[in-house]
């Protein structure tokens, strides 16, 4: 049986950072990022309002990504909250060397990894919590897929969440994960291939 989960497609959510919609590629981004940089600088200097603004502006996109990464809403919320706390503690270390969005992605990924280290995902125990997914079956299935990808090794789950989940290009994901673009491509290929290999050996219901 072939399963097609064609969902009502929500409009693709904006990537981090979302504020100020921008169509003009470079010019406006420049303006936007200077404004953003200003807020970051103020927050780094200890401006509480600027920090609050920063969190408010980026919460939604962090949360969305965390959901894709964790494969469930509850964990997504936990990770995002933890990432926000982490943001407070480590914002000082942001040196404007990379895009703030890349840095945030890394922050969320690192947070999620740390949390997963201390808490083994107990897939079966959390069925009840998955309230928001369209159906419990889909949710369980999704968690299985993500767990499967997670087992492929370090960095695979991240690629899944960034490229498939967030729709980033391989190059963008590579910058965030600090690997080569080709590594991202390869991991993605592996994910496809191994998931499909999994399919072959499985029993077709």
């Amino acid at each position: 049986m072939r399963r097609q989960y064609s969902q009502k497609m929500r409009a693709p959510a904006p990537r981090i950072p979302p504020p100020a919609s921008s169509n003009n590629k470079t010019g406006q981004r420049q303006v936007m990022s200077t404004a953003l940089n200003e807020i970051i600088r103020r927050a780094q200097r200890g401006d509480r309002d600027a920090f609050a603004r920063l969190v408010e502006d980026h919460y939604a996109s962090m949360f969305r990504f965390a959901c894709r990464y964790c494969a469930n809403r509850q964990d997504g919320e936990d990770v995002t909250q933890q990432a926000c706390i982490k943001l407070a503690r480590s914002l000082e270390q942001f040196r404007f060397e990379s895009a703030f969005s890349s840095w945030l992605y890394r922050l969320v990924i690192n947070t999620a990894r740390d949390m997963h280290k201390s808490r083994r995902p107990a897939v079966s125990a959390e069925f009840e919590d998955i309230v928001a997914a369209d159906s419990a079956e889909t949710a369980i299935y999704l968690q299985q897929v993500v767990a499967q990808v997670d087992r492929m090794g370090e960095g695979f789950r991240e690629v899944l969440a960034l490229v498939i989940g967030e729709g980033l290009t391989h190059a963008e994901a590579a910058v965030i994960l600090q690997v080569r673009e080709s590594t991202v491509s390869w991991r993605l290929h592996e994910i496809r291939k191994r998931l499909s290999a999994q399919g072959q050996s499985g029993v077709d219901p």
Binding site: M1, R2, R3, Q4, Y5, Q7, G46, R48, F51, A52, Y59, A60, F63, R64, E77, D78, T80, Q81, I85, L87, A88, R89, S90, Q93, R95, N110, D114, M115, S118, A132, A133, T138, L142, Q144, V145, G153, E154, L160, A161, I164, V179, R180, E181, S182, T183, S185, W186, L188, H189, E190, R192, K193, R194, S196, A197, G199, Q200, G202, D204, P205
Partner: protein, 659 residues
């Protein structure tokens, strides 16, 4: 890509619109943390000597955290930001050199099934196929070469089939997996060689549960070069780039040469106390191949050089040229060399030319310039055609590919490429790869090529390394003296309770494959030495990691109380089909020479260092200082200065680690 779409849709099934409550909670928690940080900053500035204020560390009593725990009950311990987040530990994985001597004769008869050459560990399919997406667009119009057309169409056919399969199988298969709830074993382990990240260190094993350990030797050295490169630039290498056995085997060891030519190599077993865990012992197995003197076979080489724009950096094309010039030095006047380049277009720069026309070859090399995009071209087919045109029976026929990893040489699917190279191997032409430049993920592909070609893998980062690989070790890289060398150790449960093999994670073999001559393994070149180290816990020592088993019989009754185990080696002479066996007991009370002890200790220092770089799970308190001490004390003659360099690296790592 349809399956991508399905995955994407699947990921989108989670409602990811932020909940207001959660958002508020997060904001509150974040602001509290923020206030705390500000407070710390102030007090940190006031009271000097307080723990580095700027550095985020776990704070068991932090208020923000308490709040947070109250709010989200299942959020447990947190570790704050990796400092590593800031340090851009760029993945450096290189390309390998896979030098391969023809094993003329029966071994290469085309009738022999391909599968038999295929190491299941590597062959299980999952070759890296990175860059395929990107490369596909660059694939040129059908090449004028018939072979190329064939390859291309075969490729796209396979590709399409694979897509279809994936399309239909991914979801249904996984769904059924979800339903059945059976957790398949992670495939990572079985496919060790097809990936470079997250190799798990060999675990400690109970002798009572698994007394036999089997692996293939590995004479690659590439890992050490990556690690050196990283450390020299002040960064700790990525853990995945560290392969213990390749670091240990980078160094030449002064093991006594075999006295008797009937065996191509001698084996030396040394048992010493474990420096990092009192009570444990290290069993050190050193294998030394004999060195060929005099006549070397004639060579027919085709250099296949990547001259794309990305090669335009001092450590790439110029180094390639220098390396090739070095290699020329090692060739005989009647050997033949040809040069093929690929970039915007593939072309023959130099038709097969005898080495005695040195100047002609050198000036052809000199004229090469990097530029243009790496268009997938018929480079590799062209190179094979040239090699076949000047084929030397009973000689070395080899293509030497030098690249920075943009490996799109006409066949852009790694599996296809490996298959192609393998088929060509049967015709007697071999492919060797020299990796240049930084940040090369094709590690895995090169490993696969090297393994399928029984080759040596190396990575050229400096002129010194080119010198080492192409001049000092040319004979060992070029002329194997034993192929498919496997090691099997059976431990004696009466004397050993636990053991652990250091390194060789990607070279593990199934116990039954030891006696199966169809299973491929590593080769030993002329003059090569190979080292393997086991850490064992003798019976009665409390230094093991397992607690005593209540129901297991405590000691074997098979006797042999004066042996830790029994070492067996299988190998084939080049060109032979059936393997030979060498075996010897590992005594508990082996007498050894001061020389062997020194070499074993140096190898131990390197092995310990490699473990430190990967986390040092088994090292207790042993650290860089201990590695430094052990290495310095056992430097020996160190003719080429490799060990001195190692000691410098340990210092660098210590500094980098402290940062």
């Amino acid at each position: 890509m349809n399956d991508d779409k399905q995955l994407e849709n699947l990921l989108r099934t989670i409602d990811d619109r932020p909940g207001e409550d959660a958002r508020e909670r997060a904001l509150t928690a974040a602001l509290r943390a923020f206030d705390e940080v500000q407070l710390e900053k102030k007090s940190g500035a006031a009271s000097q000597g307080s723990a580095a204020p700027g550095r985020p560390t776990p704070e068991p009593h932090s208020f923000g955290r308490t709040i947070m725990q109250m709010l989200t009950a299942n959020t447990t311990t947190q570790r704050w930001l990796y400092s590593g987040m800031a340090s851009a530990a760029v993945l450096v994985l290189g390309v390998f050199i896979a030098l391969q001597l023809p094993q003329n004769g029966t071994r290469l008869t085309p009738s022999e099934p391909l599968a038999e050459h295929y190491d299941p560990a590597a062959g299980a399919g999952a070759l890296p196929a990175g860059g395929r997406d990107n490369v596909a667009a660059l694939r040129p119009a059908p090449s004028p070469l018939p072979t190329a057309v064939e390859m291309d169409s075969a490729l796209s056919h396979d590709g399409a089939a694979a897509e279809k399969l994936a399309d239909s199988a991914v979801l249904s298969g996984l769904a059924s997996h979800a339903v059945s709830g059976i957790d398949p074993l992670p495939r990572v382990q079985q496919e060790g060689r097809d990936r470079f990240d997250a190799t798990v260190a060999n675990p400690v094993k109970r002798v009572s549960a698994e007394p036999v350990s089997t692996f293939s030797i590995d004479v690659d050295t590439a890992s050490y070069s990556f690690v050196r490169r990283q450390l020299n630039s002040g960064v700790l290498p990525q853990k995945a780039a560290v392969r213990l056995e390749e670091m240990v085997n980078y160094f030449p060891y002064d093991y006594p040469l075999p006295t008797d030519r009937s065996q191509p190599f001698s084996t030396h077993v040394t048992v010493l106390d474990s420096p990092w865990k009192a009570g444990n012992k290290l069993v050190h197995i050193g294998i030394q191949g004999y060195d060929v003197q005099g006549a070397q076979p004639r060579s027919n080489l085709v250099f296949l050089l990547d001259v794309s724009g990305s090669m335009n950096s001092p450590d790439k094309l110029p180094l390639v040229k220098q390396s090739m010039a070095l290699l020329l030095e090692r060739l005989r006047p009647d050997d033949s060399v040809a040069i093929v380049v690929y970039a915007g277009a593939a072309g023959t720069v130099l038709e097969p030319t005898p080495v005695k026309d040195r100047q002609k070859i050198l000036s052809a090399l000199e004229r090469l310039q990097a530029g243009g995009s790496t268009a997938g071209a018929a480079g590799i087919q062209l190179a094979y055609r040239l090699a076949e045109s000047s084929f030397i029976e009973e000689g070395v026929n080899r293509i030497i590919l030098a690249t920075d990893g943009d490996f799109n040489v006409g066949i852009d699917n790694p599996e296809e490429l490996t298959g192609f190279v393998e088929r060509k191997r049967d015709s007697g032409v071999f492919l060797s790869v020299l990796g240049f430049g930084q940040g090369n993920y094709h590690d895995s592909l090169m490993q696969a090529l090297a393994q399928n070609g029984n080759g040596v893998a190396a990575y050229i980062d400096t002129f010194g390394e080119a010198q080492k690989v192409l001049v000092e070790e040319a004979t060992s890289a070029l002329f194997p003296i034993a192929t498919d060398v496997k090691i099997q150790v059976e431990f004696n449960p009466a004397t050993v309770s636990e053991y652990r093999l250091l390194g060789y994670e990607t070279r593990m073999l199934a116990e039954e494959d030891f006696n199966n001559d169809a299973v491929d393994a590593g080769d030993i070149g002329a003059g090569h030495s190979v080292t393997a180290i086991y850490e064992i816990t003798p019976v009665g020592s409390d230094s093991g990691v397992y607690s005593d088993s209540r129901y297991q019989e405590s000691a074997g009754t098979s006797g042999g109380g004066d042996e830790y185990g029994y070492l067996k080696l299988r190998y084939k002479l080049p060109g032979e089909d059936s393997s030979r066996l060498i075996s010897q007991p590992i005594g508990t009370d082996v007498t050894t020479t001061a020389l062997l002890l020194r070499e074993a200790r140096f190898a131990t220092a390197v092995a310990g260092f490699a473990q430190l770089l990967t986390g040092g799970k088994y090292l207790v308190d042993w650290d860089y200082r201990d590695a430094l001490e052990l290495a310095s004390a056992n430097r020996g003659d160190d003719r080429f200065g490799y060990r001195a360099e190692f000691i410098q690296l340990v210092r660098r790592a210590e500094v980098a680690d402290a940062m």
